[in-house]
Subunit: 364 residues, 2 copies
């Protein structure tokens, strides 16, 4: 192959650079320093007051303006973690236009920033083999709509087609979408790191969309668990088993989720013991009342069929009490389970850790 010196090509791009110059803000935001401090910057020449609210710093922090109209502040050092932040300009919460990494939730938007270091390595992009994330759109016959799911395949998947992989169906929370477990939850990187360290089996993770709205505009309403269950069992799983090299054995199929997705995992998992051998519920909206009675009607069957029933909840979670009641019920009914009570609240910081603890237990 021929290679050319490209001086002139670079020159001819001058027009492009000039074109971009007007819009190009010659700054980075957020800028994470090696000492784990973070500089936030926002161009707002006309604003009279600009601050930043970031999870690692209590309250709103004032920013100061330079002669170009760029407001900035350096905060921290922060413990290694992923943090949400937002700017507050003259009383209005706004996002950082220089940072495309965002969390959308129920009509709100916040930016995310990662402070790397010890304690955050398990979800960081490290120099290990990386799997791939696959974005699918499918026609759900059961729901009568086109919607999406994400799939993680582990490193080496493409070149080992004879192997049948186990599958974890991993569900998001209310108001989230099928991209949240990768964009915010880092499920792909968590598994890359676990697999590289020989701490988890190579597995496929399927991340479906959990809402089943009755009206199209209400896209992130909880919808009906029964409709979700039907879509998962009759549309998503058949699609996966046709398109990916996976085992269809119950013992190679797990279901787990957070919050609403935890409730769905318990409902679908315990309700379909012939389809799932492993169930995880993170900070979950646990089933109660008659639904729960039906799900737990045959404790011995559950103990016979399930390899693992894993319940995680933080002590500061608003669902902690409900989970405590649920765990007591499991004990009373002598249903085998792992109750993982941790610090923390209803937050992604916890759910990344739960996945990191749950995934190594699967398919053993």
């Amino acid at each position: 192959m021929r290679m050319y010196g490209l001086k002139s090509a670079a020159l001819c791009l001058l027009a492009l650079l000039l074109f971009a110059g007007a819009a190009f803000g010659a700054f980075v935001s957020p800028e994470v320093h090696s000492d784990r401090r973070v500089t936030f910057r926002l161009k707002a020449p006309k604003a009279t007051s600009v601050g930043v609210s970031v999870q690692f710093s209590r309250g709103q922090q004032a920013m100061t303006k330079d002669s170009d109209g760029v407001w900035s502040v350096t905060l921290g050092p922060a413990e290694p973690e992923i943090y949400e932040y937002e700017f507050v300009v003259d009383g209005l919460s706004v996002t950082d236009p220089a940072n495309p990494w965002m969390k959308f939730w129920q009509g709100t938007a916040k930016n995310l920033v990662e402070v790397p270091g010890e304690g955050a390595k398990f979800f960081a992009e490290q120099d290990v083999p990386h799997g791939a994330v696959h974005v699918h759109r499918y026609r759900s016959k059961s729901l009568g709509v086109t919607r999406g799911f994400y799939v993680y395949t582990p490193p080496g998947y493409e070149t080992s087609k004879d192997k049948k992989y186990p599958v974890l169906y991993l569900l998001h929370g209310m108001g989230d979408t099928e991209n949240c477990w990768t964009v915010i939850g880092r499920a792909n990187l968590i598994l890359d790191n676990l697999i590289a360290g020989d701490k988890a089996r190579a597995m496929i993770i399927v991340m479906p969309y959990g809402h089943t709205p009755r009206v199209p505009a209400d896209v992130r309403s909880i919808g009906r668990y029964g409709a979700f269950e039907k879509d998962l069992l009759e549309d998503v799983i058949p699609y996966i088993e046709k398109s990916y090299s996976v085992s269809a054995d119950r013992k190679d199929r797990a279901i787990a989720g957070l919050s609403m997705g935890g409730g769905q995992s318990l409902t679908v998992g315990l309700g379909n013991l012939d389809s799932f051998g492993w169930v995880g519920a993170f900070s979950s909206a646990v089933p109660r009342g008659e639904s729960l009675d039906r799900l737990l009607a045959e404790p011995e069957l559950i103990n016979e069929k399930l390899r693992l029933l894993w319940i995680g909840c933080g002590k500061n979670d608003f669902l902690f009490e409900a989970n405590t009641v649920f765990i007591e019920r499991l004990k009373k009914d002598k249903i085998h389970h792992v109750a993982h009570i941790s610090e923390g609240g209803h937050e992604w910081r916890i759910w990344r850790r739960y996945l990191n603890e749950f995934a190594p237990l699967l398919f053993r």
Copy 2:
């Protein structure tokens, strides 16, 4: 499989609903009506002036506030198309926190809204079989960094493993990233629709990251074409040919791109005639001077090796004159090419159309 009535489960989610209630804005923005008008909404109770700037409406349009502090305006009807918009709150441009579909470019952020209808169907999600989009991270040995590329596989790819697919390497513009051709350019849906209509061959599209910054913070600088070329030829293409079922024949390999990516396509494509049989340059930063002389040094060899050299540019593009000069040079040197001069400027509206016209010509 057992199915349960889920009344109680729904009841138990009341806590979740209440939890979400505080943040949940009970409105949709943007709301696209069946008459192709669009309602924009933003909650900003403390603001004194809120407007929206949207591409289909000249200038900033004032919004009015309701008793909940939600500002809104209904505009249009608009021609079927994808449009950028932003809110302007007391003089500050801000994004729509209810709309996660965004375009980030050189430190700026704008939201996108799709008005469906005739003329926009070729890039709309229609009721046809859908391919998948695959998100990869890879270690570039040639650049010494970990970076990403996207891959589109056509419908049926997973279930026809014996088939070797042709590949289009599709490059983004300056300041863009590897996700832009799917997120904004709709390359995946354009191909889904073309393939469903039997207008294009089923092909794989690889969308690499085109910047090769010298310093990590300067992530979206143009960088060096030579470094990009090396990464593409020595890292990306080998990865693709190892992981996907593709033909490695020059006649089954195309390269095309927009703006900076058009310049890269011409440079890499014409510079490696043994590797690429098809070249497309959309609104491109054309090579000039000595670089161009070297690329066009052997017109007969180009005519012998290339199946297609396709140059598209809009009459209002700031690169139109440079493209005109380039096309004149091709004529003078008797190099076979297709010059596709259209209306329009340097914009995604045009590039979606160019891909829709270019892809059907490939691999015939």
